[in-house]
Subunit: 255 residues, 2 copies
């Protein structure tokens, strides 16, 4: 009813990006998340309590180990381990430019916090954004913290790591949106449902290089207008408000 | 150029709520945050680099210690300590029912994550929400993680800890909003700029007891409508979208 010593060591090593990259795998924990990921990613290893295994006897994992909740705790990177942990193979996605040009996508220019990144993937899923492009210095989406924060959205949103300037250049004549303090109030703009929304780094915002490629600078109005004091919003919060406003405009045309 | 051993011990103890409560103080770090808090809260102790002290010679702290950046690192709870840390007295605010009934406020029903709480205080500030009510089991706003995540908004937003059912009962005949999966799409509703928006716990949502006091159940539409898979949003993200929509409606009436 235990995870083997070797496997424990391997699981803990998956906190490091280098180990995840070398082995091309990532760790996920908890029933909701693991069950959603099992539907789409090959699973190399799964450790779960007898209760979970009884309810999920069809889970296709190469190696399945029944463990007690105490045994699970030994392997877990979470504070409150729950029922199951699993090691999945990382997916590789092709960037389909035609599809990207025909949909609303997000690009993250060096977002640093694993929690913010996971929260953004989760809200992208909510708003039907199926492709998220990360600059090469953005946090790793397979960081266990990020994986957990996606709450399963990782099963439905394709996350690509690619230089954003190359991507934007290839998108040629495509609306590229970005949030700036000197941008236009977002509520006055007619927002295209086919465009790329760029969100910047927590401290620095969007880099100068990418800023020069933005075609539409947007601003989230504070309240009352020109209220003193508040200077910025958390990047996941700003992403949420912007994505919600894009989709509100689409929905309100339908009503 | 060092923080004394006793003080170091005290600073580290402020990671614990019990210690913060007993001493009625909290810790803040970094120039932007400390400078904003110095404008409104009495400061008991401040340790800073010579560079910071030169630029901020008027800072009113009971005790000021000049330290090297290495000395600062010893006391810091942050990964990357910056220039200054300070211990502030916790404020006590009276709940002014007349003012509350005349403005838009937030209530948090057992929000658990210190990071989410700080992010919510920060966005409340952005949207001109000056009072945030926390249920007694909500995370402590003076947790160092939360204080840092507010990015200074703590200097402008009054955070109260109070039983939410009592508060709502006293508000008598006031619109009480809450987000529910079975609520009405928020974009179709006329939202009052004088109301209380209740946000629930990360896992459980709004408690049954408080749900019975909600007068307007709201829903943030996902996209496309009835998209399968995504089931929820992070509580800070949902708070952001709801507050933004309230203020959008107010701003769009002005335009």
């Amino acid at each position: 009813m235990k995870i083997s010593k070797n496997k424990l060591k391997f699981i803990r090593s998956l906190n490091q990006k280098k180990q995840r990259d070398q082995n091309n795998v990532f760790l996920a924990e908890g029933p909701k998340l693991v069950e959603e990921l099992l539907q789409v990613f090959p699973c190399q290893y799964l450790a779960a309590t007898p209760e979970w295994l009884r309810l999920n006897s069809n889970s296709k994992a190469k190696e399945v180990v029944e463990v007690s909740i105490e045994g699970l705790k030994q392997g877990s990177l979470q504070q409150n381990p729950q029922q199951v942990l699993a090691i999945f193979e990382k997916p590789t996605y092709k960037i389909k430019l035609d599809k990207i040009k025909d949909s609303l996508c997000l690009a993250l220019d060096d977002v640093q916090s694993p929690g913010n990144l996971g929260t953004i993937i989760r809200l992208a899923d909510w708003f039907g954004i199926e492709d998220v492009f990360c600059s090469l210095h953005t946090a790793d989406v397979y960081n266990p913290k990020t994986v957990q924060a996606t709450m399963g959205a990782l099963a439905r949103v394709r996350v690509h790591y690619t230089p954003l300037d190359d991507l934007i250049t290839k998108l040629d004549n495509h609306p590229i949106y970005g949030a700036f303090l000197e941008g236009k109030p977002i509520y006055n703009e007619t927002l295209s449902q086919k465009g790329l929304i760029v969100m910047g780094n927590e401290g620095q915002g969007i880099s100068k290089e990418i800023e020069s490629l933005i075609t539409d600078k947007l601003y989230i109005p504070n309240y009352p207008e020109n209220r003193k004091g508040s200077e910025s919003l958390n990047v996941a919060v700003a992403s949420a408000i912007i994505c919600a406003e894009f989709r509100r405009q689409a929905l309100c045309q339908q009503y």
